[in-house]
Symmetry: C2
Subunit: 272 residues, 2 copies
Amino acid sequence: MKIAVVAPSCSLHPEAAEAVKAIVASRGDAEIFIHEQCFASAGHFAGPDEQRLAALRDMMADPGVDAVWFARGGYGSNRIAEAAARDLPAAARGKTYLGYSDAGFLLVAFDKAGLSVAHGPMAQDVLRPGGEAAIHRALDWLVKRDPGSLEPGLKPGARALAFNLTVLSNLLGTAIEPNFDGADLLIEDVAEHDYRIDRMMFHVTGSAAVQRCGSIRMGRISEIPDNDRLFGSDATSIVRDWCGRAGIAFGGSADIGHDAANRVVPFDLARD
Amino acid sequence: MKIAVVAPSCSLHPEAAEAVKAIVASRGDAEIFIHEQCFASAGHFAGPDEQRLAALRDMMADPGVDAVWFARGGYGSNRIAEAAARDLPAAARGKTYLGYSDAGFLLVAFDKAGLSVAHGPMAQDVLRPGGEAAIHRALDWLVKRDPGSLEPGLKPGARALAFNLTVLSNLLGTAIEPNFDGADLLIEDVAEHDYRIDRMMFHVTGSAAVQRCGSIRMGRISEIPDNDRLFGSDATSIVRDWCGRAGIAFGGSADIGHDAANRVVPFDLARD
């Protein structure tokens, strides 16, 4: 099992790379290749679009690579998502693609192209408090398909989609919008004001495509900055309220979020 | 000419109300009624949804009111926009509705319902540096249809749509999404990071509906917070780049923004 790490958004901390390599070495059940593009830098991004795309496409086309693991989020994978999913090399199929947050743009584009994707921990999560557990959970899924890595509410055979709410809001209506029909839709977010959560829930639940999902489940919405006045409602009430307005079933909580406890959500468990 | 001010988003500063009343009195060409709902407060909002909606609907239904002027932006008009535009009383027609920023949710819902709307200064703009000029510009449009109030690039007979970019991004795909076909689409924003501008431009220009607009013109994108690292591109390059990717004509600059120089953009000049 060979796992390749690329950074389609922002660059990976070298410290995180070392820590992840040490964990992989200590387990002895996988080989990890951290692409040097992970440490490139061009403004906000881990190198220009062309460089990030080329590194990703190289790993997708490499028949020796079993899984492509996204280094971290930030912002930028949307800029290369359509191109990355186009004219897929044969070797791109049969791999797993794992990440979350900004990497959601890639997950959805790849899922749409028939690739096997999962929403779950990324390499840089090792730097979070308790982050080693996140890395083991990711590796347990990639290497062993350990059911213990999975978000516990997933139903075998049912389609699931997991997203950062901001990412989901920003991909609706674009070429990479997925088919939500009947899916278990899980959302999470970090560092967004209550009023932004409310506005995005208006947007997301106002989509006729999203309204066809089976239900919305709410992961952790964390590190909410203080509103300049008290917003008057909390994130759970906001999510529940907009689901109610849109006639979407609110399915309760989901064990995902920007933290070390973030569980794995394969979009298509049947495909895995 | 009677102008009614309501606050469908956040509450109006009493100081702004007094200053606007003084300007109107000094002009002597209009009467202004500042609805008491403007000073209501419920969490983030100028009163609960029901109260904001009722005040707005009352003014829409009042045959003695010639124009409904939105007090200010903030956040919240999306929560009542659909309901406000439903089952319109006869008196709602023949009035002008003026505002921008968060009020864009109402402008677009009302325009879709056949009402006469314009993107332009709001009452609370009087508190900006040079804000009196913004108030006179708004009044000159409402009272006299002064062409000097208009955004100078507007073409007679051509349809225009003006939006805060964040508002536009969050209404795409909802029930209030407008018809963009052939329109001159003007955007502006305030206090959003470069990476958010980039992500929203990805989203907006990725919409097949938006791609049918005539061109995108760029108003002022102001008070951009510092990125944690230099983003690597400025707002003009970002807007121009995404227009290019999407095959949308970039029409240059537009004289709108979150400032006292903000000019008036009627969505349908022919209707006025």
